[in-house]
């Protein structure tokens, strides 16, 4: 048994007590709930691994000695000109042009993550700004903005996306802009609804009464209370955007070759699935792992925050 000085024990108790009665904010509570959710943790870990793999793509390319667009017609293709299976030289096999599938999948992760994240950020910023303005300003501004959002939501969006891309030509930027354009209204509508009810709260009135301007009320007083539902919607929008990009690639309207994208690799592989199982399998798994992890994480975050959030885009590109 150890003997502690009385003073020491008192100090310990004093140190322990504030801890015991410390208030926990809603974000902290949500964080703790998320921490206890094994599915959410596994999803987050998966996403970190994929992000690291994307960052490390050039290093891996250097290590195996194959660039993402390098073709190996002699060792990367069978004498009949078909892809070769996984081996020591090509760990995940090659594609129809004799390119290293592993390296291309890693470079593809960069594009897919970039499309997902950039399109989501664009859509979220636009949705938040328009939704806040509509919900907070009310009156004619609300009428015009709400009707505009309704209108964007009533577009047959895959059809219009195809038309847009066929007009402007396919490129990475166009893909991201088109995806963002058809996604922001869903976020805008949720933000508007929430802003509409928060506007009536006493603290907003209080802020007004001390002379805050519209900008300050919208972005300093109202916006922080919307972060939870917006965060959930944004997390769920990322996989929807990644799937949308893959769909555009499948229709031949995605990021143009030779840039490696998962959707592009999948559509290239369609003619070869009977002779080269690895060709569709590995890009497909990479895509599924990423989108599933985002969706599961989004669900976990939603459960942890439990906001009354609506549905983000996605599921529409059928």
């Amino acid at each position: 048994m150890t003997v502690t000085a009385p003073g020491q024990a008192a100090a310990d108790a004093a140190a322990a007590r504030p801890e015991a009665i410390q208030g926990r904010g809603p974000w902290r509570l949500a964080w703790e709930r998320l921490h206890r959710d094994p599915v959410a943790i596994a999803s987050a870990v998966t996403l970190v691994v994929i992000a690291v793999a994307a960052v490390a793509a050039p290093a891996v390319a250097h290590a195996v000695g194959h660039g993402p667009d390098d073709q190996y017609p002699t060792i990367g293709l069978t004498p009949a000109g078909l892809p070769v299976g996984p081996s020591r030289t090509f760990l995940l096999g090659t594609d129809n042009l004799g390119r290293d599938l592993l390296v291309r999948i890693l470079y593809g992760a960069r594009i897919s993550l970039m499309v997902g994240v950039v399109a989501t950020v664009l859509a979220t910023v636009a949705g938040v700004v328009v939704g806040l303005a509509a919900g907070y300003l009310g009156g004619p501004a609300d009428l015009v903005l709400s009707r505009f959002m309704d209108m964007v939501l009533s577009f047959p969006y895959l059809l219009l996306a195809i038309a847009l891309v066929s007009v402007f030509g396919s490129s990475l930027t166009i893909s991201m802009l088109v995806i963002a354009f058809f996604s922001w209204a869903a976020i805008g509508r949720v933000v508007r609804g929430q802003a509409l009810s928060i506007r009536e709260k006493e603290y907003v009135e209080a802020s007004w009464s001390v002379g805050s301007g519209a900008m300050r009320v919208m972005f300093v007083d109202i916006l922080p209370n919307l972060l939870a539902p917006v965060l959930v919607l944004a997390t769920l929008l990322v996989p929807a955007a990644i799937v949308f990009e893959a769909t555009l690639s499948f229709l031949g309207l995605g990021v143009p070759p030779p840039t490696p994208t998962w959707g592009g690799m999948l559509s290239d592989s369609l003619a070869f699935y009977q002779v080269a199982w690895w060709f569709p399998l590995f890009p497909g798994l990479a895509l599924l792992a990423t989108t599933l992890a985002f969706n599961l994480l989004g669900d976990g975050v939603r459960d942890a925050l439990d906001p009354t959030a609506g549905r983000a885009g996605g599921g529409g590109d059928r």
């Binding site: 009533s154 219009l160 195809i162 499948f250 599933l292 969706n295 059928r318």
Partner: protein, 324 residues
């Protein structure tokens, strides 16, 4: 109610006008030359000029737009640049395929989505809840074409190799001609649609039916009114409580069906179904403007009508939102 309907209807027409105008503008902004596509590579400039004249493409843009609107108001969607068939006839011939696909898919995804959602809500955080959520989300996480191709690979290609020919890889048989062939050809497309859609429904159903949401609904004033009228508890819970708990599912269904009826582009493409989606895709790739506008108008009309029906249905299901 009549005023509300009239206002929504006017807005719907405005949407249709803007969408068709946008497509019209888009078409002329595009670097394109349908006359050259139609006349072929070896066509002389005279032939091309002739084709342009015949299609009316040599007239000034505002004039073309005015005549387009004029004909549209008379219910004339024009003729395809390629087949010379009336656009309305093309659309009408494709509609049954898309309707069969969308409605059958909806039945399947409602059954699966709501079934899983109810099971999950009964035992939140159980194995059924977790496993169901992961399985459903896996469908949502895959591009539609990938789901379709997986089904074709395993249920057509592998089974075919094994000598089992239950599922054709694609194609369409009209319902009136051969009901069982119709269902057989559409089964895989239905499963594809259900796989990518059911997750949204199971998630929503689960959220609306969990204890806390139901308790919230059952704490509403109108539930107390229903009880005070002396209705049985079952009637209160199922007729009044469940109805308002599940209205969002009806909303979602309306919007999804509206979107799909306008053309299920990817699924129709994967399974070679000659529906509106395939027509839309073909018309975009061949720059067939009258058909592009026709399909976009039909698709938007379905969405507008679906939104209208959803608003109406909402008012019927949830008396609190009935507009004055």
């Amino acid at each position: 109610m009549a005023r509300f309907l009239a206002r929504r209807l006017l807005f719907g027409l405005l949407v249709l006008w803007i969408v068709s105008g946008a497509v019209f503008v888009l078409f002329f902004v595009a670097p394109h030359d349908p006359a050259r596509l139609i006349a072929g590579k070896l066509a002389t400039p005279q032939t091309i000029a002739l084709v342009n004249h015949r299609l009316g493409l040599d007239r000034p843009l505002p004039e073309q737009y005015a005549s387009f609107i004029w004909r549209l108001l008379h219910g004339d969607l024009g003729y395809s640049y390629y087949s010379n068939a009336p656009v309305s006839q093309l659309l009408a011939s494709r509609l049954p395929v898309t309707v069969s696909l969308a409605l059958g898919g909806a039945v399947l995804w409602l059954a699966v989505g709501i079934g899983v959602g109810v099971a999950a809500a009964r035992r939140p955080r159980s194995l059924v809840d977790r496993g169901g959520a992961v399985l459903m989300l896996a469908g949502l996480s895959m591009p539609t074409f990938l789901v379709g191709l997986l089904l074709i690979y395993f249920l057509f290609f592998r089974l075919h190799l094994a000598g089992i020919t239950w599922f054709p890889p694609g194609g369409y048989v009209p319902l009136a001609q051969d009901p069982s062939g119709w269902a057989q050809h559409l089964l895989l497309p239905w499963v594809t649609l259900a796989a990518v859609t059911a997750a949204t429904y199971s998630r929503l159903t689960r959220r609306r039916l969990t204890r806390s949401s139901m308790l919230e609904v059952l704490g509403e004033d109108y539930i107390r009114t229903a009880r005070s009228k002396g209705l049985s508890e079952d009637r209160v819970v199922y007729r009044h409580g469940l109805r308002s708990a599940l209205t969002p599912v009806v909303t979602l269904l309306g919007i999804d069906l509206g979107t799909l009826l306008g053309g299920v582009i990817v699924t129709e493409q994967v399974f070679g179904l000659p529906g509106l989606g395939q027509l839309a895709w073909q018309s975009v790739t061949t720059q067939d403007l009258p058909v592009i506008i026709g399909t976009v108008l039909v698709a938007s009309t379905f969405i507008v009508v679906a939104n209208l029906l959803v608003d109406l249905g909402y008012a019927l299901l949830d008396p609190r939102v009935r507009p004055s």
